[in-house]
């Protein structure tokens, strides 16, 4: 027997009101925590994938679209550019390195990217099995692709034109899976990598020398030698060539600005629900103030001090708050786990659910503080009551 036990029993004695309060707290905390996890995951994902990429060169069009298509592989490409033009630009002394990408074909919705070994090296990919592609129509696939389509090293598949699931199949050029990458949390998990030639051969008629001379790529990821490149290189590409240059940092900021309003709104709603939970703590404490006054007076008559009465009521609120925090964090993790497991292709990212993020610790402290504050007034009033008067009023 101690005050913790009595507080717990007092909560359990009113299961409906406790459940109502807990549900509000859990929903509020869960939603905020989910937003934090998804937000962190998105940011992580964005940063991880755009790390070391200073600029993207592609066909003219929307710069945001170019970034989303070339770095994240979530939008359609803006078009193709001449490989010769791209290479000419790549020789600029301010350019440290480039990675050429040819894409536009897919296998059952998973994008096929024609590129060089520099692309997986950039993301420090490791192989789960097999090796990197060496010849045309050899492919090394990301872990999610392997899982999604049940592809393993040595399997054969046919590419389709476009990136739709129902795209038209190129029936005469079978691809062979040479290797499978380990999961990395980067965009490559969702991609099928092959050589540029595989993409070209699919679309060219054999012996067409004009086509060979005008071979094109879709985009080029560029890394500058130093930060000065950011001033001159984009302008140079945009003004002097038929290509377009887009800066990931700028476009991503724009993107975050676009859906940031939505996230901010959700966050406000979530905080409002959490606040409602705290209000519910307050209301249930105030409601039981009168009926519990006598019981608390009884405990005082048995020798309980004011401080013990105060602690018992605050503890009750803290226990509810702690239940809300634990439940909320659990719910958000279950949510993320579901997304990770069943919708990783659409979700496109892996969030570490075992880790407690710093904003979540702040969230937990704020929730506990709010609940304690909500109970502070009723607790104070009850602890200062006139025990003799309360006891006498019931006799």
């Amino acid at each position: 027997m101690n005050i913790f036990y009595i507080s717990l029993r007092n909560i359990l004695a009113k299961p409906l009101s406790a459940i109502l309060t807990l549900i509000m707290l859990i929903m509020g905390v869960g939603l905020v925590s989910l937003l934090i996890l998804v937000g962190d995951g998105l940011e992580d994902n964005f940063l991880k994938n755009s790390k070391g990429i200073d600029m993207v060169v592609g066909a003219k069009g929307s710069p945001l679209q170019l970034i989303l298509a070339a770095i994240y592989q979530i939008d359609s490409p803006t078009g193709n550019i001449s490989r010769m033009d791209a290479r000419k630009f790549a020789r600029n002394p301010m350019v440290e390195s480039v990675i050429e990408l040819s894409f536009g074909d897919s296998y059952k919705g998973s994008r096929i990217i024609g590129t060089s070994h520099k692309y997986p090296e950039h993301y420090e990919m490791k192989l789960q099995s097999g090796g990197l592609w060496e010849e045309a129509f050899g492919a090394t696939i990301g872990s999610q692709v392997a899982e999604l389509h049940g592809l393993r090293t040595g399997d054969i598949f046919y590419s389709a034109h476009g990136t739709d699931v129902n795209a038209e199949e190129h029936g005469d050029h079978p691809f062979k899976v040479i290797g499978v990458f380990e999961p990395s949390g980067t965009v490559i998990d969702r991609l099928i990598l092959t050589s540029h030639e595989s993409i070209w051969f699919v679309h060219e008629t054999p012996g067409d020398s004009a086509a060979v001379a005008n071979r094109s790529i879709t985009a080029m990821l560029v890394k500058f030698k130093n930060k000065m490149g950011i001033i001159t290189l984009p302008r140079m590409v945009n003004q002097q060539t038929s290509m377009q240059a887009a800066l990931p940092a700028i476009e991503l900021n724009r993107l975050i600005g676009l859906f940031g309003v939505g996230i901010a709104t959700l966050r406000i709603i979530a905080f409002a629900i959490m606040l409602l939970g705290a209000v519910s703590v307050f209301v249930s404490m105030i409601n039981s103030l009168r009926e519990r006054a006598y019981e608390m007076a009884l405990l005082r008559s048995m020798g309980a001090s004011r401080a013990q009465v105060l602690s018992m009521i605050l503890l009750e609120a803290l226990l509810l708050g702690a239940g809300g925090v634990l439940g909320g964090l659990l719910i958000s993790r279950i949510g993320i786990w579901f997304m990770n497991t069943y919708a990783s292709a659409e979700f496109g990212m892996v969030v570490d659910i075992l880790q407690l993020h710093l904003p979540e610790m702040i969230l937990a402290s704020v929730t506990l503080l709010l609940c304690t504050l909500a109970a502070a007034l009723p607790a104070w009033k009850t602890s200062r009551m006139d025990v003799s008067k309360v006891l006498a009023s019931y006799d």
Partner: protein, 220 residues
């Protein structure tokens, strides 16, 4: 009667001197001086409205002494700080109220254990069960208190008052709402339990039936 004690102060479980109390502006209630030796069960009698409950609350430390003094076991209650008074009350005074009410979220035995915990700083479920056994309600120990009958509630409130081993048990009108037969059995029970636990009983009542049973009677 208890045996001889070393300290002359300790001979008295309760002494009140020049005690008076006032609720704001309504004039003050004066109480006669009282001196109860250990084991000398005492009845305080008086009709309604003369301040019986007030006296009980003053002795029980639920009201602060305004003038005069209350000494329980030699300790003057007026000299204790609020929190010291809480501790003292828990350890030395057991209270039985007119209405037998309990902490409803706790079971029967837990109500007794709560009194042990707040009285002595720790609870002892074995002792609590033994006490319930003495009072004949051991089989109800795990029930919630609302499941008890009127008689059982009375017994539980006696058990609660005795739980911390307090040497002074204060009972406020324990029998006034009962018929003759039940009033008698509650009185017998109170007396027996007080003796068994080495406590002195102070009953405050207007119930004339009890008057004959006490040798030490104080009229308000």
């Amino acid at each position: 009667m208890t045996g001889p004690t070393s300290s002359s102060e300790n001979k008295y479980i309760l002494r009140t001197t020049d005690l008076s109390f006032s609720y704001g502006n309504n004039g003050s209630i004066r109480f006669p001086n009282m001196a109860c030796m250990r084991g000398q069960h005492t009845l305080v009698s008086g009709s309604s409205g003369v301040g019986k409950t007030t006296l009980l609350h003053l002795i029980g430390g639920l009201l602060r002494v305004q003038s005069g003094s209350v000494e329980v076991g030699g300790q003057s209650l007026g000299l204790l700080s609020n929190s010291e008074l809480d501790t003292f009350r828990g350890r030395h005074i057991g209270l039985i109220f007119q209405q037998a009410r309990f902490v409803t979220s706790l079971s029967v035995v837990e109500n007794v254990m709560a009194a042990q915990y707040f009285g002595n700083g720790k609870s002892n479920s074995k002792k609590a069960l033994a006490l319930l056994g003495e009072l004949g309600i051991a089989e109800k120990s795990t029930s919630l208190t609302y499941a008890l009958s009127g008689g059982e509630r009375q017994r539980l409130s006696i058990a609660r008052a005795l739980a911390s081993g307090a040497p002074l048990i204060l009972a406020d009108e324990p029998t006034s709402s009962l018929d003759d037969q039940n009033a008698d059995s509650v009185y017998q029970l109170l007396l027996r339990e007080a003796e068994l636990n080495g406590a002195t009983l102070l009953v405050v009542t207007h119930d004339a039936r009890l008057k004959l049973r006490f040798q030490n009677v104080v009229e308000l």
